[in-house]
Symmetry: C2
């Protein structure tokens, strides 16, 4: 599995992904799931991917190759993030159709994938889309400012409790790291290192990218502070006070 | 869905379940998922069920009816919890086989269910089993003292962080309630009221059963204390301190 989260907030967009892929428990590898296409001052596009690794690698490669053919609509020349999401959706359908058509009869490989697309194109606000395996997609709003893909349930409660549209970007990234930490502790299919990025509204730049390894002192510090804070909060809860059923 | 958790600890066994069932979002009902069979001073058996409601109700009814036929092995006369788990497993297989055999061709109803069985029979230690839809089962140990069934992921991180085999029973029940609270907030298919029970080692009694509604003052109090504690812990995390990738 994989766990990726992206948050579209008042001041910009925050991204964080793990890097573990597994095909069975004895075939575990590290692959980056956060991909950046950047034309400084003009557009910054960030893609995060979860699902079948052959599918997602194929999609990212096709999108990057086509971005060099300037005569056709591609991620580097479409005028809006909506059209970029549309292009990605078409590529998702193309790859899944191609690979599943070629499948042997009776085989049941799951070729599906999910993609998050966030960032900004000059002339628009920052935007964030969640693209489904069917190629259709939804956009984040002020009411629902974040999306998750992959192994998302373990890390959802903490985001639901602390994130709002107005959370500062740095604090939102800390929240994303805590959310991934909760997932790492409960699920072996999500693993370090992490890739993260802060995109600041109107910066049209991709210079705040981070790779966070097991040795990262800040990640170690907030993991420890969070674990201790939770345990203290739990130990200070009021003692059980319930009346048995008659 | 459903969320049930049971913890087999040094001092006894703790159980907590929600009560929501849903067949689609417009067919939501309340059904108790915690069932007690008790022969004071001799045996206390607690079952929790998740999955297809017709399947689990049928299983519980068959088990209760058969417990009145003293000449055959049943939940009220088998000499060990292991044999009780075996009987439940056989009944799970019987009901799922019966109902799925009668299924119309092309229909894909999921008849499966999972059951937790905990408690004590005089002469044994307290024990806890997780019975799968296939009728086979596993037993909780000191290393892995708790089991969850149903919508388990949202509420797992908090248990993993605070529960140990030596956690006192009252504190373990608070932990279970917090775990359910995390699930309630993130998933609509889990809902109040809750049913809970504390079984104290060697008590062979079922007098500590609780029903917890939205109005329960203790549940309201720990939900609030937990939410505030988490938020404070989050707000006091050290500020983001990461070095961008070169």
């Amino acid at each position: 599995m994989t766990y990726c989260v992206a948050m579209r907030l008042a001041d910009g967009v925050v991204f964080a992904s793990d890097s573990r892929t597994n095909a069975g428990v004895d075939h575990i590898s590290t692959f980056r799931k956060l991909h950046v296409l950047n034309q400084p001052g003009e557009r910054t596009l960030v893609l995060q991917s979860a699902g079948n690794l052959a599918t997602t690698q194929s999609i990212i490669n096709l999108l990057r190759n086509r971005a060099r053919e300037a005569e056709k609509p591609n991620l580097m020349n479409v005028p809006s993030l909506f059209e970029a999401a549309n292009l990605i959706g078409e590529t998702v359908r193309e790859v899944i159709f191609r690979d599943s058509q070629a499948q042997q009869a009776g085989s049941s490989t799951d070729f599906s994938c999910s993609i998050l697309l966030g960032g900004q194109i000059a002339g628009e606000e920052p935007r964030l889309f969640h693209i489904y395996p069917e190629g259709n997609f939804i956009e984040a709003t002020r009411d629902t400012p974040y999306f998750q893909i992959g192994e998302s349930k373990y890390g959802k409660p903490i985001i639901d409790r602390v994130l709002t549209y107005d959370t500062p970007l740095e604090q939102a990234l800390s929240c994303a790291l805590i959310s991934i930490d909760s997932t790492l502790r409960s699920n072996l299919s999500v693993g370090l290192p992490l890739d993260a990025m802060i995109y600041r509204k109107d910066s049209l730049a991709a210079d705040e990218q981070y790779r966070i390894t097991e040795q990262n002192p800040y990640f170690a510090q907030i993991r420890k502070a969070w674990a201790e804070g939770l345990l203290n909060t739990f130990l200070q809860l009021p003692p059980l006070d319930l009346t048995p059923n008659p």
